[in-house]
Symmetry: C2
Subunit: 203 residues, 2 copies
DNA sequence: TTGCTTGTTGAACAATCGTACAACAACGGG
DNA sequence: CCCGTTGTTGTACGATTGTTCAACAAGCAA
């Protein structure tokens, strides 16, 4: 009697497997913090073997960097979605872009864990520092474009983009780090007020 | 012939030894990042043995927490110094308090490393989360007092303190994380402009 | 079916981790 | 001078780390 035993494992499309490892890494990061994100913990979370991490990413640091990159893209998509849902008015679009950082899925402790793990690599590794610079520049460029649509002149656009980014980052960080200190609504109102002071003065 | 060999080690005052371990921890954190802050690396940096860390702090996490606490106090002292040097005018004192974060010794990659290492513990450990909440509340209370001196009414004081803290934290973070993206002077100007919009509207 | 490609596994490895603890020695009080 | 206190040392220990790699098997082509 020939018995077709269930396969010991499934072969996956490279991209699919990569994604499952990345998502597992994000979950472990959120659950155990940066210190607990070991190869074995991530592999177990993904239902794969330890060797696969090395096979697809070469090392743990690279996997963390890839996880940051992936989550950063997801954040960017969430921001795009918020802007698209805001309608055509430039002011509304700018406000939607900014305040989306204080609501799910962006304001999330799980995201913070990934960010912190990534930041802890920026100081030591040069290539990761460059990756951070690039993604930060990308975010600011999007913000500058939205500011431009609201009539903020080129001369002050860069400066205001830096300011808004800092304010949002600071609020988001504290919101994730110690929720209960202030509410997402308060953060949103603060950001709104700041945007109003910018766009009203450039008209 | 009785030879008085040079002592193999010196006994130190408990506080002195604690401090030397804390400062060594900060240096290692700055040099190797959060991942490289092992008991052995810290002990070697302090010129002490591995056992002393356990003797004085009980564990590495507690040492990192103590390091954060110590550096946080040093930052508070630096802020006090900046305020004291600013003179009597409330506006000047507030501005000095805020803009001091963008200059040495506060704007420093070494400080950032300590902060990140500490943040990475906040998610996982409850007692460290409470320590963070307390120190954040302390900072904000100082800021609220300075805002009050500038005539900001009680009703909006809390909200503005949260906003200023977030802006400063965001600027400080990015300044340390990728220096060269914008200058300390730009950060200072941005913070100044924000403070002006707060204090001028409450008069 | 047969054979090849290659995604996948998991054991093995050296290195490093944090903690515990018995032995040692510096220092002050007798 | 000696003796007790205690700060200090460093080894030993088991657990865990990241990485490597030979063996295996899933899936596809012929």
């Amino acid at each position: 009697m020939s018995e077709a035993a269930s396969p010991a494992f499934r072969r996956a499309e490279p991209d699919v497997r990569r994604l499952s490892l990345i998502e597992a890494c994000a979950r472990v990061l959120a659950r155990n913090g940066a210190a607990g994100a070991s190869v074995r913990a991530i592999a177990q979370e993904a239902g794969a073997s330890v060797g696969l991490v090395g096979h697809y990413f070469g090392g743990v640091d690279a996997l963390v960097a890839a996880t940051y990159d992936h989550i950063d893209r997801r954040v960017a998509e969430a921001l795009d979605l918020a802007v698209a849902a805001a309608g055509p008015a430039p002011q509304d679009r700018l406000e939607a872009f900014v305040t989306a950082s204080f609501a799910p899925p962006i304001a999330d402790t799980a995201l913070l864990a990934t960010w912190i793990a990534f930041w802890s690599l920026v100081t030591a590794r040069k290539d990761i520092a460059r990756q951070h610079d690039e993604q930060y520049a990308l975010y600011r460029a999007r913000l500058e474009a939205l500011l431009g649509d609201c009539g903020v002149p080129v001369s002050t656009r860069r400066r205001h983009a830096i300011a808004v980014t800092a304010l949002v980052d600071g609020l988001w960080l504290e919101l994730c780090l110690s929720p209960g200190c202030f509410t997402p609504e308060e953060a949103r109102d603060i950001a709104r007020g700041f945007l109003a002071s910018i766009t009203s003065s450039s008209r």
